[in-house]
Amino acid sequence: MALTRDQIAMRVAQEFKDGDYVNLGIGIPTLAANYVPEDISVMLQSENGLLGMGRYPTEEEVDADMINAGKETVTAITGASIFNSAESFAMIRGGHVDFTVLGAFEVDVSGNIASWMIPGKLVKGMGGAMDLVAGAKNIIVTMTHTDKHGNSKLLPACTLPLTGVNCITRIITDLAVLSVEDGAFVLQEKAPGVSVDEIKEKTAGKLIVPDNVAEMSF
């Protein structure tokens, strides 16, 4: 069965190692913060200038001067640091953030990602996404395997305007965990109860299926 949003987030959280600095995009990526294993710690970077983002505030703690990159009110953990936007993106662009997790409209076998613009629709902008995909050491894309019409979002080549080229190495969808290697998607894990055939059918780009494909465990 396809994973729920929370299950995708749970699987994402399994990627983290103790001591990782992580930037989580809006949506499913943000949920991953709820599922970090108890025996490890990660520190969340918010690209508006906060390293050590904490939970949402209580009513009493709400402070207009303390927001995250999604413009939501947040808190800072003990040991957080706060800095300007140039410093924040120096950190990102310079490869100091260990993981970036973000959503996408499309990814392709060359590791390209399209996540910010659909021609014909009003374009709101890329925000920090292009900087994040250009800078993070490891990028994990989280998304549903297909769009709402059933079309694959894992393509031979992205059709939408790109956010970044040759930068995606790992994709976690509602059906599978895949890596991007040498011009192909490589199936690493499948969701519980999902068949390899279904994944094959819903992956438009070249897919390599190893002999043994593990099932995700939570």
């Binding site: 300007n84 662009r93 902008g125």
Partner: protein
């Protein structure tokens, strides 16, 4: 130190010299850390055809959104816009031009403008619409694009505290683009919550040294919250 006293008493003085068709760099991220009173006064002044460089363009009726009401902005340089209906309408009408710039590149362009660096290379945007028409150069086998610095005729900045010499500190994440904006204006105007005596701020904790600041005005701030999210559980 009379020559270093940058405090002005009125918004008229704070924005004296701002005229049609100028470029204004504004600090702030969303509605956080924006120079509310300076923006409101630009509306009152009625200057037109402005190019505004700011990560966002406020919301309907607040922040930079105010300057859309009388079509004072002809071009926005931003990373994320369209949180307001008026913006969308003027964009679709062709009354407003938008130059979308990745957030980190935007911050770095402002810093470069203030730091006398006319251009720098970044991997951000290579191979995307942002990279189109820009010079590409490889370093260590990876392609990068050349991005140019931004400077403004005016920079409008929101700080927490400043002394009369212009030394500023910013509060929490209201820092954001403000320090870079402060360096990149030919005339930099800072609207602050509190003016303190010189020596109150420790020299090593000053975020923006006074050398970048031309005028300081004390403002009153509504500090509207864009997305109020509170924890549902007991902490």
């Amino acid at each position: 130190m009379a020559g270093f006293n940058k405090v002005v008493d009125t918004y008229e003085e704070a924005l004296a010299g701002l005229t049609d068709s100028m470029t204004v760099i504004a600090g702030g991220f969303g509605l956080c850390g924006i120079p509310e009173g300076l923006i409101a006064h630009i509306k009152t002044m009625g200057v037109k055809d402005l190019t505004v460089v700011s990560n966002n363009c406020g919301v309907d009726g607040f922040g930079l959104g105010l300057l859309l009401e009388d079509k004072q902005i002809s071009k926005m340089v931003s990373s994320y816009v369209g949180e307001n209906a008026l913006f969308e309408k003027q964009l679709l009408n062709g009354e407003l031009e938008v130059e979308l710039t990745p957030q980190g590149t935007l911050a770095e362009k402002m810093r470069a403008g203030g730091a006398g660096i006319p251009a720098f290379y970044t991997a951000t945007g290579y191979g995307t619409p942002v990279g189109e028409g820009k010079e590409v150069k490889e370093f260590n086998g990876r392609p990068y694009i050349l991005e140019h610095a931004i400077t403004g005729d005016f920079a409008i900045v929101k700080a927490w505290k400043a002394d009369k010499l212009g030394n500023c500190v910013f509060r929490h994440t209201a820092q954001n683009f403000n320090p870079m904006a402060a360096t990149a204006g030919k005339i930099t105007v800072v609207e602050v919550e509190e003016i303190v005596e010189p020596g109150t701020l420790s020299p090593s904790e000053i975020h923006t040294p006074g050398i970048y600041v031309n005028r300081i005005i004390k403002g009153e701030f509504e500090k509207r919250i864009e997305r109020r999210v509170v924890t549902k559980e007991a902490v």
